[in-house]
């Protein structure tokens, strides 16, 4: 429902990274991590990204999405565990924090190789 908001922010972040590190070069791909509990659907994000990228240096760039499952860490004993349990499997405490799976992160961008660089 709100994937366009995420796509617009993604475009802004990727353009900023490209401007800073490789000004003037076309971005060919984005590596993105989508949390299972981020409220974002990968297929909708891809469609929204294609729209948000139009007319920018990201137009036509591939969006490589990796999904990340929800993960917890126990505040009492430090044990890490996944969703599906109602308490820490090691010590039984229920005071836990979420360590992964709730955000959408831009991990990396790939830009066209510049002159004088080895193509990869």
């Amino acid at each position: 429902m709100h994937e366009l908001t995420f796509a617009e922010e993604l475009v802004r972040a990727a353009l900023a990274a490209a401007r800073q590190n490789a000004p003037g070069r076309r971005v060919t791909a984005l590596e993105v991590e989508v949390g299972e509990f981020s409220t974002v659907l990968p297929e909708l994000l891809s469609g929204a990204f294609a729209i948000a990228a139009q007319g920018t240096a990201l137009a036509g760039a591939a969006l490589r999405i990796r999904q990340v499952p929800l993960a917890f860490a126990c505040r009492a004993c430090g044990r890490r565990f996944g969703a599906g349990l109602t308490a820490c499997p090691a010590c039984g405490a229920s005071d836990v924090e979420i360590t992964a799976g709730r955000h959408v992160n831009l991990l990396a961008i790939e830009v066209q190789d510049g002159p004088g660089e080895e193509p990869r």
């Binding site: 429902m1 709100h2 995420f6 922010e9 993604l10 972040a13 990727a14 990274a17 490209a18 590190n21 490789a22 993105v32 509990f37 981020s38 409220t39 974002v40 929800l70 917890f72 969703a83 599906g84 349990l85 109602t86 308490a87 820490c88 229920s94 005071d95 836990v96 979420i98 709730r102 955000h103 959408v104 992160n105 831009l106 991990l107 990396a108 961008i109 790939e110 830009v111 066209q112 190789d113 510049g114 660089e117 990869r120």
Partner: protein, 238 residues
């Protein structure tokens, strides 16, 4: 050439929310982000809680988020608290920038500030507003499968309020199923059961909020407040 970035896509909102959180802490305000489907009873809950908190000499104000109309802000003012209405004109959630703008209209921060989010069990879960507590309201007629179907809203909450218990006789709602599903994505979730029609369970919820504010401020926690109100026998819980 690959350039490593590693950046939360909603980082701007997270930073704005962090600034709001500092501001709320400096003003000693407990800020509660209220999530739930349209019609779950979010406004009705506030209409009940406002007089209870005011009787405990706490000042209360409400920021109301809706796609259109100021009906909810009018209801809140009738219940005795100042309200600022945000109409998002189609946007399905509130974000930290909208809350920041509403605060400028509100003036001084109260002891307890409720932010009633747009009625929606999906999108509001992704946007931090600087709140100290996130309450998700699930009403009995919506069905006990909602924590399984919309887990994001439950994963990020500090308390689940199961509302409209008075309609329990008319709906097949398995509380144990709903609570188990919600806790399996959020083991620390506190659970309350309420009925705004007859006031059931609202005292416990008000006491919990007062206790959370006291804990945040380092005051002594009032006695007799626990997060497991649902285990207590009562009218709907023989």
């Amino acid at each position: 050439m690959k350039i490593v970035v590693v950046r939360n896509v909603l980082g701007d909102n997270e930073r704005r929310a962090a600034r709001l959180r500092k501001k709320f802490a400096a003003a000693r305000s407990l800020v509660v982000n209220l999530l739930g489907s349209p019609g779950a009873g979010k406004t009705a809950l506030l209409e009940r809680l406002i007089p209870m908190l005011r009787r405990r000499r706490l000042s209360v104000a409400v920021i109301e988020g809706d796609i259109a109309t100021s009906y909810d802000a009018e209801r809140i003012e009738k219940a005795g608290a100042p309200a600022v209405q945000i109409t998002t004109r189609g946007v399905c959630h509130l974000d930290a920038a909208m809350v920041g703008a509403a605060l400028r209209k509100l003036g001084a921060l109260p002891d307890v500030l409720f932010i009633e989010n747009v009625g929606n069990l999906v999108c509001p879960a992704a946007f931090a507003l600087g709140e100290s507590e996130r309450l998700v309201v699930l009403s009995v007629p919506e069905g006990d499968d909602k924590p399984e179907k919309y887990p994001e809203a439950f994963a990020g909450a500090s308390a689940l309020v199961i509302n409209k218990l008075d309609l329990g006789a008319h709906c097949k709602f398995n509380k144990a199923r709903a609570v188990l599903a919600a806790r399996s994505v959020n083991p620390a979730l506190a659970v309350f059961e309420t009925s705004c029609a007859d006031g059931f369970g609202l005292g416990e919820l008000a006491e919990w909020l007062i206790g959370r504010r006291a804990a945040a401020l380092g005051l002594r926690r009032p006695a007799g407040t626990g997060p497991l109100a649902s285990r207590r026998p009562g009218r709907y819980n023989p």
